[in-house]
Symmetry: C2
Subunit: 390 residues, 2 copies
C-alpha cells in the first residue's frame, strides 16, 4: 500500500470519518427550546404549509445539497457498493462546506435498480436544495439525471459528467490562449465515451467545437457499433460527434492530425508515436486515474504542447473541485433550477478567467482549487447572467 | 399569533434554518485533499468493501442518525406534509447534536405510501448508524417501525411512541416513590390509543403494571370496537390491556377508582369530577399539546397528587428530549441494533434515578433536559447492561 493510502486509513480512523453536523443556534435553556423546537416551531411549519417556497426562508433547505450515490462507479474502483462509497461521499460533502460553505450531506443508497434510485431521490426532495449525483455507473447515471431533472424542482447535477466537462473546457479555453488556434477550427479525439466522455462531447459542442471523433472499448465510434448505447446515439443524433469514419479505424488512425486528444478511458492507451502523429502544438488531456492514458513525461517528449491529467502531482490537474462548489453556490443563491449548458459554459469561462493572461503558461492553465477567487468568479458570473435575463 | 410563535418565525428566518454541516478535518492544501479525498480515500473505501463493519471505523456512520418523517402527524398540527415538517426535523437534529453530540440529519420524505417510505429507509441504511422515525401517523408508524426493525441492521426508534413511553415511565417510577403504592397494584386508565398510547401501554406492562384499561375516540376499548386497529388488537392479544369492560362504559365510568390516568388524546377531555372519582393520591399525566386533557390547576384542585403535562411552562414536563439523545448515544456506542423493551426500561429508570431521592417532590419528578447527568446516566446504564450480557 502506498504511503498516502496508509496515511489516509490512519486519519480516517482517527477522526471516525470526516462529516459532522452542527447547529446554527445554541440550545441552552427552556427559552431556546421553545422557539427552536416545541411549541414555537409550529409557526415556520405553518408558513411552509401555506406556501412551500417559504422553506427557503425558514429552513436550511436553500443551502443543502444531497451528495447521492449507489456506489456503482466509485473513483477508479468500480462497483464497490454504497457502504464502501461513504468515505468518498463524506469527502465530497466536506469539500462543499470548505469551498462554498454549502451544507452537503452524504447519502449512499442501497439499490441496484435505476427506478428505485430515482424514486428515493424524488422522495428526498423536500429536504434538499439541490442534488449532486456522484459515482454512478454509465449509462444509468444519464438516465437517472435526465429523469430527476424532469421530475424535481431543485437543481440536479451529475458531477462525474458535468464537473469533469466544465473543468476540461476551462483548461481548453486557457490552452487555446497559448497556441494559435481557434475553437471552431479544432479537431478533437475523445477516447472513452462513458459518463464523463458523453458530457465532455456535449460541452465542447456548446463551446463551438465542430470536429469531434470518438473511440471507446469497442473501437472507433460509428453509427453501427454504438446501437446499444443510448447516450452515444444521442451524441450522433444531435450531430455532436462525427461518425463518418471506418468501423475498422484504429486509435492510431483516429488520433492522426488531431489538435486535441481527451482521454477518459484507461491507463497507458496512448503511445508517443500517436502523439507525434497529431497536429502541431497538440493538447493532451489524459484523465484516467491513477494511471493516465499516457504519462505526462512521455507526452511532453513526443511533442505535446500542453498536458493535463487527473493527478494532483502533475501541473494542470483537471479537478472537479474547481467547478461544483461554485456552480452549486451560484445556482442556490440565484434559485436556478436547471443547470443548463449555458450555465456550465459560464462556469468554464469563469474558472478559466481566474488566471490573469500574464500568468498563463503551459504548466498553469487551471487555477488552484484553493484560490478563493474561483468560487467567487463562478458565483458572480452566474449572478450576472441571472440578472441579465430578468 | 402568540409571542413565542412570532419570535420563532423571526429567528428561523434570521438563521435560515437551524441545521448545518461541519467538517471534522481541515482542507487547506493539496496534501489535505489527497488524504481526505482523491487519491487517498480509496484506502478506507477498499477496507469497507472487504468488510462492511469497517464503516464504523473509517466513516461517520457510527455516530449518524437519520431523523426521518413523511410529515403525516407533525406536532399537534396533523398531516402538514414533508416540506412543512422540516423545521421540526431540523430542530430534532440539532437537539441530537446539542444533547448527545450525535450527528443527525433531517430527512423529510415525499411519499404517502407506507411501502415506499420503508423502501427509502432501507435504501438509506448504508449512510446511517440509526434511524429516528418522527411524526408519522398511526397506525402506519407502527407498521413502518416493525418492518424496518426486521429488515435493517441498525437501531430503529419511533420517538413519538417510545420516547414518550419512556419519559412517562420515568415520571411514574419517581411518582410512586412519593406515594405509598406499588407498580403491580396500580390501576391505570389510558386515554388515547394512537402511536404514543400504544407504546405507553406496552412499556407500563414491561414495568410490571397489570391493570390497564383504555379509552379512545370510539369509546371504551373492548374486543369488539377495536377490530380494525391492528395495534390495539396486538395489545389485547398480548394481554397488555384489560378489555373486560362494557362497550357502553363512559370515560366517567372507566376513570373511577383508578390510581393513574394517562392522556395522549385531546384537550379538556377530563373533568374535575372525574379526577375526584379516582383512588386516593391520583397521578394525572395530561399530555395533549398545547391544551392538556385537564389543566394542571383544575387537576390539582380536584385532588391530583402529581400532575405531568407536555407543556414547558408547567412542572413535570414529559419531554422526549430526556430520552432520545441518551438512548441513541447508548446504543450507538455499544453497537446495539435492537432497542428492546429492556433497553427502554433501563433508560426510564436511568432518567428517574437522575433525581436524588432527597430532591424528589410532587413538582419535581423529572430532571431538566439540560441536566447533563441525564444522558450520562442513560449511556452508562446501557453500557453496564451490555457488559453484563457478555
Amino acid at each position: 500500500m502506498r504511503d498516502n493510502q496508509k496515511r489516509s486509513l490512519i486519519l480516517h480512523k482517527k477522526y471516525q470519518g470526516k462529516f459532522a453536523v452542527s447547529s446554527k443556534v445554541s440550545i441552552k435553556n427552556n427559552d431556546d427550546l421553545s422557539w427552536a423546537y416545541s411549541p414555537g416551531v409550529a409557526a415556520p411549519c405553518l408558513e411552509i404549509q401555506k406556501d412551500k417556497k417559504h422553506a427557503y426562508d425558514y429552513t436550511s433547505k436553500g443551502n443543502m445539497v444531497g451528495v447521492i450515490t449507489d456506489g456503482s462507479a466509485v473513483l477508479g474502483l468500480g462497483n464497490i457498493g454504497p457502504d464502501a462509497a461513504m468515505p468518498v461521499m463524506e469527502g465530497k460533502a466536506i469539500l462543499f462546506k470548505e469551498f462554498a460553505n454549502i451544507d452537503a450531506i452524504p447519502l449512499c443508497l442501497n439499490t441496484s435498480s435505476t427506478e428505485d434510485f430515482i424514486k428515493a431521490c424524488v422522495q428526498l426532495e423536500p429536504t434538499l436544495g439541490g442534488i449532486n449525483l456522484e459515482d454512478i455507473a454509465a449509462p444509468q447515471c444519464i438516465e437517472i439525471e435526465r429523469a430527476l431533472k424532469k421530475r424535481l424542482h431543485i437543481p440536479v447535477f451529475h458531477d462525474d459528467q458535468h464537473g469533469t466537462a466544465i473543468v476540461v473546457s476551462a483548461a481548453l479555453i486557457n490552452g487555446l490562449k497559448l497556441i494559435d488556434k481557434r475553437m471552431e477550427d479544432l479537431s478533437v479525439l475523445l477516447v472513452g465515451t462513458g459518463a464523463a466522455g458523453h458530457a465532455i462531447a456535449r460541452m465542447l459542442h456548446q463551446l463551438g467545437i465542430r470536429h469531434i471523433q470518438a473511440y471507446n472499448k469497442d473501437g472507433a465510434v460509428t453509427k453501427n457499433n454504438s446501437k446499444d448505447d443510448i447516450s452515444i446515439q444521442s451524441l450522433i443524433d444531435d450531430a455532436i460527434i462525427d461518425v463518418n469514419v471506418s468501423e475498422h479505424a484504429t486509435l492510431d488512425d483516429l488520433i492522426k492530425s488531431k489538435d486535441v486528444v481527451i482521454g477518459v478511458s484507461v491507463g497507458n492507451i496512448l503511445s508517443t508515436s500517436m502523439i507525434k502523429s497529431m497536429n502541431k502544438d497538440p493538447l493532451v488531456f489524459a484523465l484516467a486515474n491513477p494511471t493516465p492514458e499516457i504519462s505526462p513525461e512521455l507526452a511532453k517528449d513526443a511533442g505535446a504542447k500542453i498536458i493535463g491529467t487527473g493527478r494532483i502531482d502533475y501541473p494542470n490537474q483537471i479537478n472537479n473541485v474547481l467547478a461544483f462548489p461554485g456552480i452549486f453556490k451560484g445556482v442556490l443563491l440565484n434559485k436556478i433550477i436547471d443547470i443548463s449548458d449555458e450555465i456550465k459554459a459560464i462556469a468554464a469561462y469563469a474558472i478559466a478567467e481566474t488566471i490573469e493572461p500574464t500568468d498563463l503558461s503551459v504548466d498553469y492553465i487551471l487555477p488552484s482549487p484553493f484560490d478563493k477567487r474561483v468560487v467567487e468568479n463562478i458565483v458572480n458570473a452566474i449572478t450576472r447572467h441571472t440578472e441579465n435575463q430578468k
